[in-house]
Amino acid sequence: MTHHSTVSVAEVTLFLEEFSRGNKKALDKLFPIVYDELQRGAHKMKQQFFNLDTFNTTAIVHETYLKLIHAGSVDVKSRSHFFHIAARAMRQILINASLRKQALKRGVNPRPLPVDELDNKLELSDRTAEDLLLLNDALKKLEIQDERQAQIVECRFFGGMTIEETALALNISPATVKRSWNLAKSWLYVVLSEQ
């Protein structure tokens, strides 16, 4: 069992509300919970949705939200904050899976993994893992230059968030999200294609 199994929905909701009010420390408590639950969700969906063609990251994020948060008691803004945290967690989950894939390809076993570690079961193809790692490297460069722009990429790409949700989560206008996302996409693509 994971370390957060004892945390209740009420508590997680409270952490989210604290974070939304500006208490950055609440993120340290929230992040690992969201990370674990997303991973669990992704794995479960893999089994559930095997026969369907409707599967996407947005669905996992929304499912995780409904599972962890008292949806009725938080406002739209807090909800968007949650989605952003989930987007970041998703980025980390995918990058970890990509690193593992790469290590295995090189014949190095990165570290012995406990059997119940679920991200172990998220199998990415070589090509996807490679693209994600390149994207992550380029994104880190962008992060240094323009943190908000990188956050927009996290929300839009890794979290599958809409323009409006991203705008709410980052406290900027939808128009800004739209233009920053366009520029970031082009820039990242140019960097990746120059590799």
């Binding site: 893999k46 063609d53 599967f55 199998e123 990415l124 996807t128 599958g160 140019v190």
Partner: protein, 229 residues
């Protein structure tokens, strides 16, 4: 591609965003007119143009990557991946026309060179119960074979690839999605409506045959050079 300093980045962002709203043929002039001589000397014009030119491909890249991640997480591999020159049934692949979650579409020609004829071949992924999928596919093929309308792509043939994927062979339409066509030709309202009448005729015909398309959208409605839907 290096990142310029923060101030230049803001400026690049502004000019890029505004230029992106112009038609692509105008980008060069537009960027040229909106940058100062000093900015051009710093190479900002080439920088922005590079970003502009790659914008459509960047969109496609991010969409494809997202789809690949989702496919991977779903647990099925993308087994359908034919290369140019390979054969599907009697047809030789010229190039891939596109792919979605469930299928890939290739532009093909007859491999036996009996007659020169380009066709679109759609190869479908099989998931879950293969026998069930095959049966459903056969039924669908039978229904589609009975359709014959000037505004609906004709179905020619169908079958299974050597690997067991079902495929259908359709009339290849060299055309533009209807929304792009309207914008490109700058159609007037009455011209647009006349085009729409063709769409309606096709849908009415299909509905009369008890067929529901279920995915009608501009990208699926193509208009040929001479204005035929």
């Amino acid at each position: 591609m290096h990142l310029p300093d923060k101030q230049s980045w803001e400026r690049i962002s502004d000019v890029f965003t505004q230029a992106l709203e112009q038609p692509s043929s105008q980008w060069k002039t537009w960027v040229n007119n909106h940058l100062s001589e000093k900015e051009k000397k710093q190479g900002m014009d080439t920088y922005i143009l590079k970003l502009l030119i790659k914008a459509p491909r960047a969109d496609a890249f991010f969409e494809a990557l997202q789809r690949n991640v989702e496919d991977d997480l779903c647990g099925y591999e993308d087994e359908i991946n034919y290369q140019q020159g390979e054969r599907i049934g009697k047809f030789r692949i010229i190039k891939e026309l596109g792919h979605g979650g469930m299928a890939r579409v290739y532009l093909c020609e007859r491999a036996d060179d009996q007659f020169e004829h380009k066709v679109a071949v759609k190869v479908m992924k099989v998931q879950g119960d293969i026998d069930f999928s095959k049966e459903r596919f056969r039924q669908e093929q039978q229904i589609l074979a009975g359709i014959n309308h000037p505004n609906i792509a004709q179905l020619y043939d169908g079958g299974f690839t050597d690997e067991g994927f079902p495929f259908i062979v359709m009339e290849y339409i060299e055309g533009m999605p209807i929304d792009e066509y309207c914008a490109d030709k700058k159609l007037t309202v009455s011209e647009k409506l006349r085009l729409f009448q063709q769409v309606c005729a096709a849908i009415q015909y299909a509905h009369n045959q008890f067929i529901i398309h279920q995915d009608i959208k501009p990208a699926n409605i193509l208009v040929s050079k001479d204005g035929l839907v």
